[in-house]
């Protein structure tokens, strides 16, 4: 009996591993609440889901909005950019989040989607701190990630093989990196790259693997890794904001159709000076309106 139970448990655990990691989409769409954003105050619920890059920022923005209008409740969920697009397109959430441009194929599937860019985020090329280089050209970065340059000596470093670290397929950060560095029709990222499933895991891997190179959202930069300048431009929020730094992606919130009522009020708040101040405080780049 105990072995049977054990085996059943094994099956269950496996099955959960296979299906359990799936993020739960919001159960029901919340009906657009009180369409009159009266001076007296707003009330109601908003459900947001999607990109894990946008998630911490969205939480802050939700918190600030709820502090202003205590009757408003905003739920922020993760799930990933693709989940954000899908759930907003299908109307299972009020607002979806994507840390990349919405793809043409997605716009075809969900033609009602309206994209609201709420902030911008730079992607830094990072190397292990012992790599004795300060910067690369964009072409060099592309050739390294495509597997055409495999030794640091080819880009002016020591004679050591390069360890490429990347994100998994489908990641918003990877999609933005591929589009802006590898090029839309460019070569794929080399097969032998170590793939890690989050910004944090990429940072740990690059920090602990000598001769490694990877890419990270600006929000995840810290002294454990070395941010390389690209074409001589340092990876700083200032450079990204002024448009000199070449790898910058939009952080988008998505609605099905033009937003109204409470959702519109929240989006307006995010794009107001007050909301954009929070964006900057969180280490992202404010959008110029």
């Amino acid at each position: 009996m105990s072995r049977k139970t054990f085996m059943l448990t094994g099956l269950l655990v496996l099955a959960l591993a296979a299906s359990g990691c799936r993020p739960t989409p919001a159960p029901t769409p919340t009906p657009a609440p009180s369409p009159t954003p009266a001076e007296a105050g707003l009330s109601g619920k908003i459900v947001e889901a999607g990109s894990t890059t946008v998630q911490p920022l969205a939480e802050k923005l939700a918190e600030a909005f709820s502090a202003k209008y205590p009757q408003v409740q905003i739920t922020v969920q993760g799930g990933g950019s693709s989940v954000g697009v899908k759930s907003a397109g299908q109307g299972t959430v009020d607002v979806g989040a994507a840390s990349r441009e919405v793809k043409d194929s997605e716009l075809q599937e969900f033609p009602d989607l309206v994209v609201h860019t709420i902030a911008r985020d730079g992607i830094a090329i990072v190397a292990h701190p012992d790599v004795p280089l300060d910067g690369l050209t964009k072409e060099q970065v592309r050739d390294i990630f495509a597997g055409e340059i495999t030794n640091w000596s080819d880009v002016g470093g020591p004679d050591r093989p390069i360890v490429v670290v990347s994100r998994e397929e489908g990641s918003g950060t990877r999609a933005a990196f591929e589009e802006m560095v590898m090029g839309k029709e460019g070569p794929p990222i080399v097969d032998t790259a170590i793939l890690q499933p989050s910004n944090g895991a990429v940072r740990t891997t690059v920090a602990t693997t000598p001769d490694s190179i990877g890419y990270l959202s600006f929000g995840y930069l810290d002294p454990s890794v070395k941010a390389l300048s690209i074409d001589g431009v340092k990876a700083t929020v200032e450079n990204a904001a002024s448009g000199v730094y070449p790898v910058v992606r939009p952080l988008n919130l998505l609605t099905k159709g033009e937003p109204d009522g409470l959702v519109k009020a929240w989006l307006d708040f995010i794009l107001s000076d007050e909301g954009q101040k929070i964006v900057v405080e969180e280490g992202y780049i404010a959008v110029n309106r």
């Binding site: 099955a15 296979a18 299906s19 799936r22 998994e168 793939l195």
Partner: protein, 305 residues
Amino acid sequence: MRGRRLSSRKGTSRSIVDRSARYLLLLSALVSIFVVFLIGLFTLREGLPALREIGLGSLLTGRVWRPQRGEFGLLAMIAGSVLVTMGAMLLGVPLALGCAIFLAEVAPDRVRAVVRPAVELLAGIPSVIYGLFGMVVLVPLVRRVPVPGNTGFGLLSASIVLAVMILPTITNIAEDAIRAVPREYKEGSLALGTTHWQTIVGVTLPAARSGIVAAIILGVGRALGETMAMIMVIGNSIIFPKPLDNNPLTLFLSQARTLTGNIAVEISYATGLHESALFATGVVLFVLIMIVNTTAHLLIRERAR
């Protein structure tokens, strides 16, 4: 008369309790089976579009996995899962069997009282902790092996982590099997003048064989299903593992990706056919584990006979 009625009434209420307890237990058993059934059905249903569109054949034999470009081949991941499981078995099985024999045959009770809970404790450590340990301790160690292209992340690190993780599973079941060998066998052997070790090797272990094999197979199932720790140390590269230089053993320094890792790494961002293909990966895994566990189950039943 009055006494009989009282006792019969009491008897009725007792039998009600008894019966309802029985149904309640039956219900919980049914619920667990139902859940397994539902999960299997759900995985299959979600994976069906991919199975239909890509085809089981090209899914199982395709060597390239590039979902964004519409290529879905699981062969590299199947190889990764099989190789890492083999590696874990090579390292873990001798260790686990040694441990089981020690606990069942050699250890004095006082030592056993310490070792056994310690081994069982291994089963209670969350797999993310194993992964973290592997990532910050094992991977840098493995990286010291001077082979070009060795990053430390790969099959060897993953096999070592996995070997430790399956240790309690194999040890516990193998120890039970060894203990279940009738006393008479051992006494007979010892009476013939063999030493303790000769008895263990020549009599006890052969008699416990099917139970030990079942233990190993359950370990295989555990190894195939492990996810989190694997993601953290195996590198997750979508390549068919191959030796890094002329020495075939460097195969184990190659990065790889497991079937479980494939699902866990990509599911949060997957949509459409990609998502369905990941569920199809789950179906492949499900079938694989079911085969493994059924084999173990049959072997255990054979032993019971």
